[in-house]
Subunit: 490 residues, 2 copies
């Protein structure tokens, strides 16, 4: 289908956005200047400052807001206050005409990852710095840029006294980079309260697959994270004195870790992949269509180490197949140089990325049973403990839903090409919470590119992505607005 949005709407809007670009970049500069690092308790005040700054912006644009206290958090034995969630709404929720409008819930997070110049940044991470087309700064792309994209859209309607094509609700949090503490409870609690009447959810907090082609993301992998601990002596031993006299936990642990996955990525734990559906030829066509190449992965990882020379296989490895990665070992010698220790207690850390229809509870059980039976074969005098550290279900949305269709058409309008429909290998847990608690379609509509370096040094958002992205968010709302009377099954 094609756009239902009249050029009478889209042209003035996009031209206005272009004309106001510098002003938007100035506002992003203000936002980036607040070092709202949720993972550093010394910066907690700045996360609060950021909440209040954003609250002020929303209020000035006519949004009815409230800051919701989420309680406290235990950091190193001390209770410190959690930053508030920021809820807001704008639109006409009462009149008959207003009630006919679709209501979109927009999620974003205003906290950022840690950053300091000494990590290797080329410029102060909290001073937005223009380098060619790049706007460099912590939070530029994750996730202040996208949040400000929404503010830009509101600014257009505010400054030009235009009515919004939809009703909007906002849910912004300040703890995303630190496990979204407190948010799930709030969402579940407000599902039939503050969030009642929401038709669609839109989250702009992920990235294109490359630096060329916009994407809509309709799936995320789940995660089961494990710690497998082998322990023996009551304390670390000297390998000179005790090497050759006792069972050493490290020996058993590396044996167990070597039995989880082969180096081609095949998971060796019986039953774990049983619920993963075989790939269909229709699905293969989906991956063939994506704008991606082996050169893209080589560039992204800096070495020619892809598991396959077939782009479709690599994409399926990331998007629709489970994977198992070994992350490290806690309790063993991990420093530089040489230390002749026999570690007393070592914990291997590994995780499995899950896809439908894998179930974390079942995976946890299968892993435990397997490791225990492999350990039994070793006839060791050491002790084994298998502990699931965290788990999250995979998520896949119906990408034929009007929510996606609106975003697809808006993309075509702004970028002049079809978006790629992707699934992400990682997880954004809040997606699943919204999907389950509200029972509506959730759209992941990224603003930034695959090379933005969200959690790295020199994080950036391309200026063009910020500006075109603002247009995309706005036109997505108009497309939704125009779909009021459209049968969701068109």
């Amino acid at each position: 289908m094609t756009s239902r949005v009249a050029t009478a709407i889209s042209i003035p809007f996009t031209e206005w956005v272009d004309a106001n670009a510098e002003r938007f970049i100035e506002r992003l500069k203000e936002a980036v200047a607040i070092p709202s690092i949720s993972g550093d308790s010394a910066r907690r005040d700045d996360v609060f400052n950021m909440a209040h700054w954003l609250d002020g912006q929303l209020k000035s644009l006519g949004v009815d807001t409230k800051l919701v206290d989420l309680g406290t958090q235990n950091v190193d034995g001390k209770e410190i206050p959690l930053p508030p969630a920021l809820l807001g709404q704008i639109g006409d929720f009462t009149s008959e005409a207003g009630k006919k409008k679709k209501t979109i819930l927009i999620y974003g997070h205003f906290d950022v990852q840690p950053a300091s110049k000494s990590d290797g940044w080329d410029s102060d991470p909290f001073v937005l710095t223009t380098v060619g087309d790049k706007l460099v700064g912590r939070g530029s792309t994750d996730d202040k840029g996208p949040i400000l994209g929404w503010l830009n859209v509101l600014q257009y309607h505010h400054d030009n006294q235009k009515e919004l094509p939809v009703n909007l609700k906002f849910c912004f949090e300040g703890m995303e980079e630190s496990g979204s503490e407190g948010l799930d409870d709030l969402i579940v609690k407000e599902a039939k309260g503050y969030f009642a009447g929401v038709d669609y959810v839109c989250i702009s907090d992920n990235y294109w697959l490359n630096d060329r082609t916009p994407v809509l993301t309709y799936g995320l992998r789940g995660l089961c994270y494990f710690s497998v601990t082998v322990s023996g002596p009551a304390w670390d031993l000297h390998s000179g004195v005790f090497g050759g006299t006792v069972y050493e936990p490290m020996t058993d642990l590396v044996t167990l870790l070597s039995k989880l996955v082969d180096n081609k990525g095949k998971i060796l734990i019986p039953g774990v992949v049983d619920r993963v559906p075989s790939v269909t030829s229709e699905e293969i066509k989906l991956y063939e269509k994506l704008d991606y190449s082996i050169a893209d992965i080589d560039k992204a990882v800096g070495a020619p180490i892809a598991l396959s020379s077939d782009k479709v296989e690599v994409l399926m490895g990331r998007m629709r197949n489970p994977s198992l990665s070994l992350h490290g070992i806690e309790g063993a010698f991990s420093g530089e140089g040489a230390k002749t220790v026999i570690p007393a207690k070592v914990s291997g850390k590994f995780s499995i990325r899950l896809v439908p229809d894998q179930d974390p509870k079942e995976i946890n059980k299968l892993v435990k049973v397997y490791l225990e039976s492999e350990f039994a074969k070793l006839n060791s005098k050491s002790k084994l403990e298998v502990k699931p550290l965290s788990d999250g279900k995979p998520w896949v949305a119906d990408y034929k839903n009007p929510n996606y269709e609106a975003a697809r058409v808006a993309t075509l309008l702004v970028y002049g090409k079809e978006p790629d429909f992707t699934r992400e290998g990682g997880s954004i847990p809040v997606t699943l919470t919204f999907s389950d608690a509200l029972g509506v379609n959730v759209l992941l509509l990224p603003m930034g590119r695959g090379d933005d370096g969200a959690h790295s040094t020199n994080e950036k958002l391309n200026r063009s992505n910020f500006i075109e992205g603002t247009k995309l968010l706005g036109l997505y709302l108009y497309e939704i607005g125009a779909s009021i009377n459209i049968d969701p099954k068109y």
Copy 2:
């Protein structure tokens, strides 16, 4: 054989030692109060202070000393001065009668391991604290106590104007706990200079096998320490995005580590144990005689994890067989909790303890060839590098040499029982340097007990070991002195 030392000598000496015990403990207190931690460059001045304190003590007892500059050491890119070696001699090296005397070279180290109360010490580690029979403090047993044992012996001869039964040379260093930097060169250089004419070497820097029975130690294992590095991506990756798409270095590394040794201690690298002689029935009798039990090892490691319930097998595992221990992994996630990283470059650390006739150079080659061939089988796109980090040859002395015989009889005189003849599982590299450079018999004559906790918190030396140990060192010299005209092959 029995003692050749007249009771006219041994009784006045041992009675004098008992009468002066408090004074000796006071001196140990002074020595322990100087925090001569060689591994902490901030404490380098204290290592110098300790060298000067010891120099002053030796001079006051009539020893002719010199401090030898060993140059500088590179610490974090900064050159800092190495503490000097302290050489000394006392005796009659010129007259005909004097030249007939045996010359013993005594080695010890005046630096200590790091220690601070916050590590879990019950008392200030640098305040010698009496707890029952224990003298608790850093360096009490490793190695200030033994050095002060020699001072005590000199004190008897000085205060009572007694002639020493032998000529003595001393070699004390301040870098033992940090790799004995600079010492090997000095020993090799002075082998035919300052150390010319040395008949025997005596080192008191190891421990009894238990807390009951004195030992003489005639063997040490050697060591080959390896780092095996597997690398792939140019930087760490996120397992959500890249899990299932690339070769992961950790997967290959744990596979390689799992192929080095089984959990019963059997080394799986072809050729590595080929040069280890089969055990003889005579040898088994040696181990049967040792005062040791499975209960001792259970106590030493705090858990019932011995590889065998047969004491002889466990002792041979420690003393006369090679062993391979996995120490840890550098570059992988090693913290608490969960981190979903695919580490870009991981280095497994392991070492092999060597026994005669294993040769470090040959072992290095065998390990490299084996790991490279096992890695080739994996068909990985990651890269492998095998690096030997350090190596040292094993050492075994002739325990029927008069040097050992003198120490055996002295032990019998002081403790009323035969010493156990042991080999150590660890290494004291300077032993081999003396043995090779001087070409004389080296005796390891420990003062402390197996539970002294040399490198641990609450390091201690039993008061009785300090005092009886002083007697042992003195009577050992008298036994050597009395053996002048004895055929070394008696």
